[in-house]
């Protein structure tokens, strides 16, 4: 542009610098949901999800799981109307024997869980009542501020481990035998490695625990907390009111139709709040324990997608409509079309 040199020179300061951003010209892409895209997306999703669901369901089916609810059965007949008294009475004999047969062969390791229902480990008062500092290191023994109302004994001595969670430790025990032969229950390595190594100190020993008001299990005060795996498992609080916690592992295979005898020490009080207790034996597969939910969900979603895809295809074939027709817009639909428009 001849002649514009002088003005261009002068105007440099007024004219903002060019960039794609400042001119809102950055390349952009926005997918328009045409029938083609929508249908193919649904088909692809459906075709991927249904097989995944089937595989998960199949894997879940291979898991052998035995669930035995014992909280009712383990109350002697005389006490059936007065369970709370039974469980609270220190004098009563709490042992009870349960038997069940193995439906299918169970390969080791077989995991033993106890399952509680209607037990709110996530209650605000409960879940806060612990002192991670105290659990971690010996020098923090006096760190009991968070543990209220189970921080110290009546003599103002700090409880180790303090807090409601530790205090209410699950204290039923199980002994297994098959055909009169005891099964060995391995209770090592049932807690998270990180909990054992970092969160629970090797130099912290239980002290003043379960003195006075006794809640749950007592701990051997000569074993450090990092070795008390039952406690560690218990202190990883469950998010829901129905939960399973690992009790131990059986490292022998069980054959189909084996009859397992379990001797249960039924100590834990779930009768106060109408909770239930169950014993669970389960093998695992690559998707974990027995869980049909995942597979069913995948199959359902995949099925819905395929169904929608088919519906849309039918709609598209039976009653197609042009894409981007403005006469479908709400403000055009109501008014009668005027000639010449």
């Amino acid at each position: 542009m001849p002649g514009s040199d002088s003005t261009a020179h002068k105007s440099k300061s007024r004219r903002p610098k060019y960039s794609q951003f400042s001119q809102q010209e950055l390349p952009a892409f926005k997918l328009i949901l045409t029938p083609g895209y929508v249908i193919s997306t649904f088909i692809v999703v459906g075709l991927i999800f249904v097989p995944i669901g089937l595989i998960s369901l199949f894997a879940s089916e291979t898991v052998v799981e035995i669930v035995d609810r014992y909280d009712n059965e383990c109350i002697p007949k005389d006490f059936r109307d007065n369970r709370v008294e039974f469980i609270k009475n220190k004098q009563t004999n709490k042992s009870c024997t349960r038997t069940f047969t193995v439906p299918k062969q169970m390969k080791s390791p077989i995991f033993i869980y106890y399952q509680l229902e209607n037990f709110y480990q996530n209650h605000r008062r409960y879940v806060k009542s612990r002192s991670d500092k105290q659990l971690q290191s010996k020098k923090n023994a006096a760190h009991i501020r968070e543990c209220k109302p189970m921080g110290e004994t009546d003599n103002k001595d700090p409880i180790i481990p303090c807090g409601l969670i530790a205090w209410s430790l699950f204290n039923d025990t199980y002994g297994f035998s098959v055909k009169g032969k005891d099964l060995k229950v391995n209770k090592r390595d049932i807690a998270w490695g990180s909990d054992k190594n970092y969160k629970f100190g090797a130099d912290v020993f239980p002290k003043n625990f379960q003195v006075g008001d006794v809640g749950g299990k007592s701990l051997n005060s000569s074993i450090p907390l990092s070795e008390q795996e039952d406690l560690i498992v218990w202190m990883r609080t469950a998010a829901l009111s129905t939960f399973r916690k690992l009790y131990g592992k059986i490292e022998d295979d069980l054959q189909a139709n084996d009859v397992i005898t379990v001797v249960i020490e039924n100590n834990y009080n779930t009768y106060d709040f109408k909770g239930t207790k169950s014993l669970v034996l389960s093998t695992t597969s690559w998707i974990g324990g027995k869980n049909d939910f995942l597979g069913v969900t995948f199959i359902t979603i995949g099925g819905i997608c395929l169904f929608l895809a088919i519906t849309f295809i039918l709609l598209y074939v039976i009653k197609p409509r042009p894409l981007g027709d403005p006469s479908y817009l709400s403000w055009n639909r109501n008014s009668t079309p005027t000639p010449g428009r």
């Binding site: 809102q24 109302p149 809640g215």
Partner: protein, 826 residues
């Protein structure tokens, strides 16, 4: 409240008025924190968040770490406080710079260099060329022997042309010595913000000359922040100082405009708040009930047997805290942030840069971009907005003879050129009026060419045309005016200038021919302001026809007239005029009345027709915006015919078969009422037909309609998509905006001149065209653009983008908060 200012009297005025210390600061170091916090907490949202944050400090009930609310709260407060502090610091710096600037001031009769902040009312301030004026001064001396000085008022009103300022008659001819010792009293009103008015009186005390009262007008003042130009030196008396100057009084924070989206967000916030309370009450009660029935049985929780009195409140309050994030804390800050980005996008847009002046568009108000997309009514000015405001003299009618009708350009009309060479007296008179009766200032450029500096485009066009017709305005030296005609130099002394006002619609000068000594009155003005005052014997029919014909072509017309004035008559009138100009109350009205006494029995010379071309792309822009469902109203001060012509040529209204133009007129209430009802009836019938119906109304009928038939007129306003209002005053423009706003329409006003400022400020969105009529409108506006056609892009691109983005952002904010909140509750 009047003030009496004693010139150069160091004792009396010392402490009566504030010193010339500028302060634009909102805060001081001491009150920053409390004041800023107070301001922030006067917002409901912030109060709410503070309450939540305080509740969180109570560890019994807090479900989350208090830092999760305090953190963002403090951060957001810190961000806005820092911004405020930064702005205030910059204001402080610029104040300081202005306050510590050194100026020459007379103290005890000696000229001294003092800091600008030490100037007191009554001090005499000396300025040199290109100095900035430190406070409002009344001129008392300049380097010019005629007592004229030139100032640039760009910082005050945005107009870039030079203005002349005169020293009052009483101070004429004083020399240096005298100016140092001058004593006197200036009587003037208290500080106000009207930069176009200053009604004062000056009385010099003996021993100085006479003790006559000398009127002072805005012409005798130089106001703060102007620059002295083309004048070696000037001195004046400080009358208003510090924050009491005209500029200081005009400053002020305009009321923030609230967009539709903002209002919606406020409503939503309220609704969510109510919902939140409901959730809290329901869940809180449920929680309490559950606790009393179930939780007591849970031995492992160890509930205590006795509770403090507030136990019942604990669970609801916990839920309240959990729900508190339902209302997004960040929405205000994020919206402010993105809104300033929208404004930047407008500033940056290459397609909205005026190619002629290379002026980019500018968004002054960064908060209302999304409202651009919601505009339902556009009220536009005509001159300078739809048209280019580049006036070109096209045709004229002198003494009944039409020139320029064939060629379309009177400057090339052979008949006119012949008439000039042959020296036809009427034609010569006509040209003289064109060249003399104006306020144009000729200035010689370095190359020797004459440049005309005019405030009015029409005057400039007339003077240019006269110059091309050999009647060249060469020089204007105070009251002596030099004209070169065909080689000979004519000199006129300007005795009085009867200025143009929008009420009078005409201006006149009283001049004395230096050669013959004859006094004559030269007038020009709108036809209805001139033709009724023609002397009894003159037939004005041809002129009426000419005006009619020209305005049908969309040309702007002016009538020129003159008459001789006897010496006695002039002297007598002059006294009255002087008296009127020195009144302090109702001066404008008094002057108009006195002017009327001279402006009669005029000999009408002819009619000029000036063309004002349409801007590029105006019809397309209007058509596109109309397709987008936006209604247009044109508000103009111009004549009905001209307005209709322009409206036709820019697609504003459609010609007959397709469109229909209804007019509301009448001089009396009854007539207006009847025509209004008729139009309303037609409107109601035709709404169902695909026909463009518009109505025209003139200022007079509008006045009556607004006053007595407001309801009917409002209904009409709702029915009609197009309207033309001609001959309307600035305040009527603003009234119309109010009217549409009261019907809950989003209005956008666009204009370019000072007469549009009020309408621009009143409208939801004001757009100013940074055109040739100064920058007044652009300054008052929320957006300033270079050309009318950029409006299309502004509304349809920037408005739409902004609206979409704001909608997305606020929806996203609420969605996000609700989602997080529900997760927490579950």
């Amino acid at each position: 409240m009047k003030r009496y200012i004693y010139i150069n009297d160091d004792e009396t005025s010392q402490d009566l008025y504030c010193a010339n210390r500028l302060s634009n600061r909102k805060y001081t170091l001491m009150n920053f924190l409390p004041k800023n916090l107070w301001e922030q907490f006067s917002r409901f949202m912030n109060q709410y968040f503070l309450l939540i944050a305080c509740l969180q400090l109570w560890s019994l009930i807090t479900p989350v770490n208090p830092a999760s609310t305090w953190g963002p709260l403090i951060f957001i407060f810190a961000v806005s406080a820092t911004k405020e502090a930064w702005d205030d610091y910059n204001r402080y710096l610029s104040d300081k710079k202005a306050n510590e600037k050194e100026v020459w001031v007379v103290k005890q009769g000696i000229k001294k260099l003092i800091q600008s902040q030490d100037i007191r009312v009554g001090n005499i301030v000396w300025l040199r060329e290109n100095d900035e004026v430190p406070c409002d001064l009344v001129l008392i001396g300049t380097s010019d022997p005629q007592g004229v000085c030139y100032v640039e008022t760009a910082a005050l009103d945005g107009e870039t042309d030079l203005k002349t300022r005169l020293i009052p008659a009483a101070c004429m001819g004083m020399d240096f010595e005298l100016l140092h010792k001058i004593k006197g009293v200036i009587e003037c009103p208290g500080p106000d913000k009207d930069i176009r008015r200053f009604d004062g009186n000056l009385r010099l005390l003996p021993p100085f000359i006479d003790n006559d009262v000398c009127p002072l007008t805005i012409k005798n003042t130089i106001l703060q922040s102007c620059y002295l130009r083309n004048t070696e030196w000037a001195c004046g008396v400080a009358v208003y100082t510090g924050n009491e100057t005209k500029l200081g009084m005009t400053r002020g924070i305009p009321e923030p405009k609230l967009t539709a989206v903002d209002a919606m967000i406020d409503k939503l916030t309220g609704a969510i708040f109510v919902f939140q309370i409901v959730v809290v009450i329901v869940l809180g009660t449920a929680g309490n009930v559950w606790k009393d029935t179930e939780a007591r049985k849970q031995w492992y929780v160890l509930y205590p047997q006795e509770f403090p009195w507030y136990e019942l409140l604990v669970i609801p309050l916990r839920f309240e805290l959990l729900c508190s994030i339902m209302i997004p804390i960040s929405i205000k800050v994020s919206l402010d942030l993105v809104k300033s980005l929208y404004a930047k996008f407008i500033d940056w847009d290459y397609e909205m840069i005026d190619p002629e002046t290379d002026t980019p568009s500018h968004a002054t108000n960064t908060a209302i971009s999304e409202d651009l997309a919601q505009v339902e009514y556009i009220l536009t000015d005509k001159t300078g907005t739809l048209t280019e405001n580049r006036m070109i003299f096209r045709r004229c009618c002198i003494g009944g003879i039409f020139y320029g009708n064939e060629t379309g350009d009177a400057l090339k009309d052979v008949g006119l050129l012949n008439a000039i060479t042959s020296g036809s007296p009427d034609v010569i008179r006509f040209l003289t009026v064109m060249a003399v009766c104006n306020t144009v200032i000729p200035a010689k450029s370095k190359a020797g060419a004459i440049l005309y500096k005019a405030q009015s485009q029409d005057e400039e066009a007339l003077v240019h045309a006269a110059a091309q017709l050999h009647m060249v305005l060469v020089n204007k030296n105070a009251s002596i005016l030099e004209i070169k005609f065909n080689g000979s130099v004519l000199q006129y002394e300007i005795l009085e200038t009867l200025e143009f006002t929008s009420d009078r619609k005409r201006m006149s000068v009283v001049v004395k021919d230096c050669h013959s000594g004859n006094i004559s009155l030269l007038s020009k003005g709108a036809d209805e302001a001139i033709l009724p005052y023609a002397h009894a014997g003159q037939q004005t029919r041809t002129f009426v026809e000419a005006v009619e014909q020209y305005s049908q072509l969309g040309l702007r017309t002016l009538c020129l007239a003159w008459r001789e004035v006897e010496e006695d008559e002039y002297q007598e009138w002059s006294l009255m005029f002087k008296e009127a100009s020195s009144t302090l109350i109702d001066r404008e009205w008094r002057i108009a009345e006195v002017c009327q006494r001279l402006e009669h029995d005029l000999k009408v010379l002819g009619v000029t027709a000036i063309e004002d071309r349409l801007q590029d792309g105006v019809p397309e822009t209007i058509e596109t915006l109309r397709k987008a469902g936006i209604n247009f109203w044109m508000l103009t001060g111009d004549k009905q015919n001209t307005a209709i012509q322009i409206a036709l040529s820019c697609n504003f209204i459609s010609p007959e078969p397709k469109g229909q133009l209804l007019s509301i007129d009448g001089k009396t209430e009854d007539e207006v009422c009847r025509s209004l009802e008729r139009v309303l009836l037609t409107m109601r019938i035709t709404t169902s037909e695909p026909k463009d119906v518009a109505f025209v109304v003139d200022g007079w009928a509008l006045e009556i309609a607004l006053k007595h038939y407001r309801k009917a007129f409002t209904e009409l306003a709702i029915l009609s998509r197009t309207a033309i209002c001609c001959r309307v005053t600035p305040s009527q423009k603003a009234q119309l905006v109010e009217l549409l706003k009261s019907c809950d329409y989003r209005t956008l006003a666009i204009g370019d001149g000072g007469n549009d400022v009020r309408m621009i400020q009143k409208a939801d969105i004001g757009v100013g065209i940074s055109g040739r009529e100064g920058l007044q409108a652009a300054r008052a506006a929320d957006y300033s653009i270079g050309k009318f056609r950029f409006l299309k892009r502004l509304i349809l691109v920037h408005g739409r983008y902004s609206y979409n983005r704001t909608a997305f952002l606020s929806q996203y904010s609420f969605y996000k908060s609700l989602l997080i909140c529900f997760i927490q509750i579950l």
